[in-house]
Amino acid sequence: MEATIAVTGLRKRFGSKLALDGMTFIVRPGQVTGFVGPNGAGKSTTMRVILGLDAPDQGSALISGQPYPRLRRPLSHIGAMLDAAALQPGRTARNHLLWLAHSQGLSGKRVDEVIEQAGLATAARRKAGGFSLGMRQRLGIAAAMLGDPPVLMFDEPFNGMDPEGIVWMRGYLRALAAQGRAVLVSSHLMSELQDAADQLIVAGRGKVIADTSVAELIAAASGDRVTLRTTAGPAAMKVLTRIGATVAVTGSDTLSVTGLASDQVVAQLSEAGVRFSEISAHRATLEEAYMELTRDAVEYRAAFVTEAVR
C-alpha cells in the first residue's frame, strides 16, 4: 500500500463548537504537503484524529490504508511531532527518545542515529527542561524519525526556530519528500511554506477550502501584475489592451498591467516599438493568495484594517 494519509469526511464536535465539518484530503508521497488555515480551522484536531488520539464523530482517517489503532509499531508507519514542549523536564533528551524507542522494539543504537541526524548530539544527555525552543523542536523531529516512517506529520515545526534553524528545517523537509516519504506540515509561516511545500491544503471552519499545488494557487490568485514605466503611456495602453490585458494608470509615467506575463509585455511593446524604461513583475505571494481564499473563513479577526496590498 502506498504511503499516504487519507482523511475522509471527518466530523467532530467539542461541546457546542463544531471543530471538524467534513474534512477530506489525501497526502501523497514524494512531496511536501502544507496544511494551512486560520486559527480554529481544525488543523490540530485533524492531526490528533489521524493519530487516533481523538475519536471523530463521523468519518475516517487512514494511514497507508489502515486506521491508526490497527497499526503494528505505529511509529514505523507514521512519525508525528504535535507539541514539541511535551517533555518531562527531569528526563534527558536521550532518555526521552529511549523510552519511545523501546515502545517500538527499537534499541538505543537507533536513538543515537536519530540524535545525530537531528543535530542534537551535544545536548543529548542534558535534561529536557533546560532546552531552548529550537532544541525542543529538533528533539521532536528526532522522535518523529525514530521509526524511519514513510509518512510524517509536523504541527508548526518552524515555531521558535532561529533563521538558521528555519533554513535547515526547510531543507530537511524537502529531503524527506525527495526520499519518497509523504510529509504533512501545518504552519502559519506562508513564506516558509511557499518555498518548502509542493501541495497545499487550505482549511477553514472545519473543512477543506482548497487542495491544489502551490503554483496553481498562486497563479489563480489575482495578484499577478506587471508594473511598466514608460513615457509613451497611451501608446503602450493601446498595444496591450488590444491583446486583452487590463491596463491601469498608476502614476504620471507608470502603468499597471494585469493578465499578461512580463515577458509577453516586453515582446509586445518591442514589436510595436513602444519604448519603456522599467518593467517589473510582481508575483502574488502565497500569503496574498491565502488571505484572499480564507477571507470568509477567518474566525478571529482583529479590528485593524489589513495592510493594503502594494
Partner: protein, 533 residues
C-alpha cells in the same frame, strides 16, 4: 516526475506487550526523582523498624534480653501459657476419666496491674469468676511445658468446653455446674464427652495427640483448675492497647471421680504445672488440691492453658508480633501511592500523554504496562524492606527483652510477600485513580484520602471502635490485614486491635484491596479508551 514511494525495511514481529513494558520501565527508571523516592519509601520501613522505641524490659536480673521469659510453645509452634494445678495419676494405656463438676468459684485480685517477678504479692482477693476460668479433667502428655493435651472443662461464663492443644476450643452442652465430664483415651485418640445426668453422654470432640505416650509413663490423667489473668482494657477506642490485668484463682469441686486404666491402687498426686508468660510472679495463695472425702476433690489453680495473645491481656508483660516491626509501612505506602499517581498524571500535565498514546495506541495494554512496572517495583522493594524489618526488628526486640510471638516460616513469608503485594496493589489503585482524574493535585489528595487515611483513622483511636473496625473492613486499608501473623482466639480474652490484629482475616483483607485495585483498573482502562487524549 514520479518518485517511487519510500519503503522502509520491513519490520518483522508483532508489537507485543513486552515492548510497552520496556518503554514504561525506561520511563520510570530514567526519572531519577521517582526511583529515589520509591527507594527512600522502602528504606523508611526499615528506619522506623530500627528507630521505633522499645522500652527496655526491666527485671530482677538486669534488663533487656536477660529478662526474656522462656515461653513454651505448643505442638503447633505457637507461644502458649501452660500453667494450672493438676491432681493426676499416670495413665499407662487406654482408659478414661470421668468426673462430675459440682461447682466452679473464683477470686480476683483487686490491686490491678500485672504481676511481674518483683511485684509485691497480690493484694486482697475478692470473689469473682473471670469469663474463662477453667476447671475439669485433662489427659496430658506429661507435665513439661507445652505438652499436648486434651481437656473437658466447665468455664466461668462459657459453659462446658473441650479444649486441646492450646488453640482448639469446642463448645459442649451449655450450662453451669453440676455437669458430668469424661475423657477416654484409645491409643493416640482422646475423646471428650459431656452429660447432664451422668447417663446420657454426648460426644463433644475427638483429637489425636501425636506421640502420646512416647515417653513411657508420661501420660497423666486427672483433674485440673486454672484461671487466667483478668484483663480490663483501659481505653474504649480501638487503637489503644493498654489495659490492666489482675491475678485470679478458680476452685473447682469434683465428685464421682472415676479413673479407668490407671495403675491399681494409684493415688492422686497434685502439682502446680507452671510455665508461661503469665507466671513470672509468685503464686496466689490457696493453690492446691484437697481430697474432701469419698471420691470428691477440690482443686484450686491459677494461670491459663491456652495461646498467648499479643498485648498484655494474658501475659505478664507486653508481647508483640512481627507486625510491630512494620509500623513504618504506612509511610512507605504514602510515598509509593503518590509516585504511582504521578506516573500517569505528569504525562497529562505536560501533554506527554499524546506522544505516549501515539506510540502505544492499544490503550488497555499501555495502562497494563504501567501497572505492571509500578506494581513490580513497589512489590520488590516493599517485600525486601519488610523482610529486613522483620529480621532486624526481631533482633532489636530480643535485645530489649520484648517477646515477639513466634510464627512459622511460611507465615513470615506470607507477611513479607503479602505486605509487598499490598503496597503493589495500592500503587495500582493509585495509578488507576490518576488515570481517571488526570489532574495531579486532586489525584494525590484523592489517593491519600482513599488509601492511606482510612488506615490512619482506623488505627489511631480517633474513631470509636465500631467505626474503626468498619473502616478497616471496607476501605482499601483492609489490605493491612495481611500483616496479622497470629490468629484471634475466641477462648482468650484480649485486646484484638491493630497493629497486631485486624478485623478481617489476612487473605480476606488483601482480597478487599485487590477488588478495589481491579475495579479501579478496569474503570480507568475503560475511560482511557473512550476519552480523547
Amino acid at each position: 516526475m514520479t518518485i517511487t514511494a519510500y519503503r522502509p525495511p520491513q519490520q518483522t514481529g508483532r508489537e507485543s506487550f513486552a515492548q510497552s513494558l520496556h518503554a514504561e520501565w525506561t520511563k520510570f527508571s530514567t526519572l531519577r526523582g521517582w526511583a529515589i523516592a520509591v527507594v527512600i519509601a522502602a528504606v523508611l520501613i526499615d528506619v522506623v523498624a530500627v528507630l521505633a522505641p522499645r522500652g527496655d524490659t526491666q527485671c530482677g536480673s538486669g534488663s533487656g534480653a536477660a529478662c526474656l521469659a522462656h515461653v513454651p510453645t505448643g505442638p503447633g509452634g505457637e507461644a502458649v501459657n501452660d500453667s494450672y494445678y493438676l491432681a493426676s495419676q499416670p495413665l499407662a494405656g487406654n482408659g478414661s476419666i470421668t468426673v462430675r463438676v459440682t461447682s466452679l468459684t473464683g477470686m480476683i485480685a483487686q490491686n490491678g496491674g500485672f504481676q511481674g517477678p518483683d511485684s509485691p504479692p497480690p493484694g486482697t482477693m475478692s470473689p469473682g469468676l473471670v469469663p474463662w476460668a477453667k476447671a475439669g479433667i485433662i489427659i496430658t502428655d506429661g507435665t513439661r511445658p507445652g505438652a499436648a493435651y486434651a481437656a473437658m472443662m466447665v468455664t466461668g461464663s462459657h459453659g462446658v468446653r473441650m479444649q486441646y492443644d492450646y488453640t482448639s476450643d469446642i463448645a459442649g452442652l451449655s450450662g453451669a455446674a453440676p455437669r458430668w465430664l469424661r475423657l477416654t483415651r484409645d491409643g493416640d485418640v482422646i475423646t471428650g464427652y459431656d452429660s447432664a445426668d451422668g447417663t446420657h453422654w454426648t460426644e463433644v470432640g475427638q483429637v489425636q495427640l501425636a506421640d502420646a505416650g512416647a515417653v513411657a509413663g508420661a501420660v497423666q490423667a486427672g483433674m485440673f483448675a486454672t484461671s487466667p489473668l483478668d484483663f480490663t482494657p483501659n481505653f474504649p477506642t480501638y487503637g489503644e492497647s493498654g489495659g490492666s490485668t489482675s491475678n485470679s484463682v478458680a476452685t473447682g469441686t469434683f465428685d464421682n471421680v472415676g479413673l479407668r486404666g490407671g495403675a491399681p491402687g494409684g493415688r492422686w498426686a497434685g502439682q502446680y504445672v507452671g510455665a508461661g508468660a503469665d507466671s513470672n510472679g509468685p503464686q496466689p495463695a490457696g493453690i492446691g488440691f484437697r481430697e474432701t472425702g469419698g471420691s470428691a476433690f477440690t482443686v484450686t489453680g491459677s494461670g491459663d492453658i491456652g495461646p498467648v495473645v499479643a498485648g498484655m491481656a494474658n501475659s505478664g508483660y507486653d508481647t508483640g508480633t512481627i507486625a510491630d516491626h512494620l509500623l513504618g509501612v504506612f509511610i512507605a505506602l504514602l510515598i509509593m501511592v503518590v509516585i504511582a499517581a504521578m506516573f500517569i498524571t505528569v504525562e497529562y500535565r505536560r501533554g506527554l500523554i499524546r506522544t505516549t498514546l501515539a506510540a502505544s495506541p492499544r490503550r488497555g495494554r499501555l495502562l497494563a504496562a504501567k501497572a505492571v512496572v509500578i506494581g513490580a517495583v513497589t512489590f520488590m522493594l516493599g517485600s525486601a524492606a519488610v523482610a529486613v524489618a522483620v529480621i532486624v526488628g526481631g533482633n532489636i526486640a530480643h535485645d530489649s527483652g520484648m517477646y515477639v510471638l513466634p510464627v512459622s516460616w511460611l507465615t513470615q513469608a506470607r507477611v513479607i510477600l503479602g505486605t509487598g503485594a499490598m503496597l503493589a496493589l495500592a500503587s495500582v489503585l493509585a495509578l488507576s485513580i490518576g488515570t481517571m482524574l488526570r489532574r495531579s493535585v486532586v489525584t494525590v489528595a484523592a489517593v491519600i484520602v482513599a488509601i492511606v487515611l482510612p488506615y490512619i483513622l482506623g488505627v489511631s483511636g480517633v474513631l470509636p471502635a465500631s467505626a474503626a473496625e468498619w473502616v478497616l473492613r471496607v476501605t482499601p486499608a483492609a489490605g493491612f490485614a495481611i500483616e496479622q501473623s497470629v490468629p484471634q482466639y475466641q477462648q482468650v480474652v484480649g485486646h484484638y486491635g491493630p497493629p497486631d490484629y485486624f478485623p478481617l482475616a489476612p487473605w480476606a483483607g488483601l482480597a478487599v484491596l485487590c477488588l478495589y485495585a481491579a475495579a479501579g483498573f478496569g474503570l480507568a482502562g475503560w475511560l482511557l479508551r473512550r476519552r480523547d487524549a
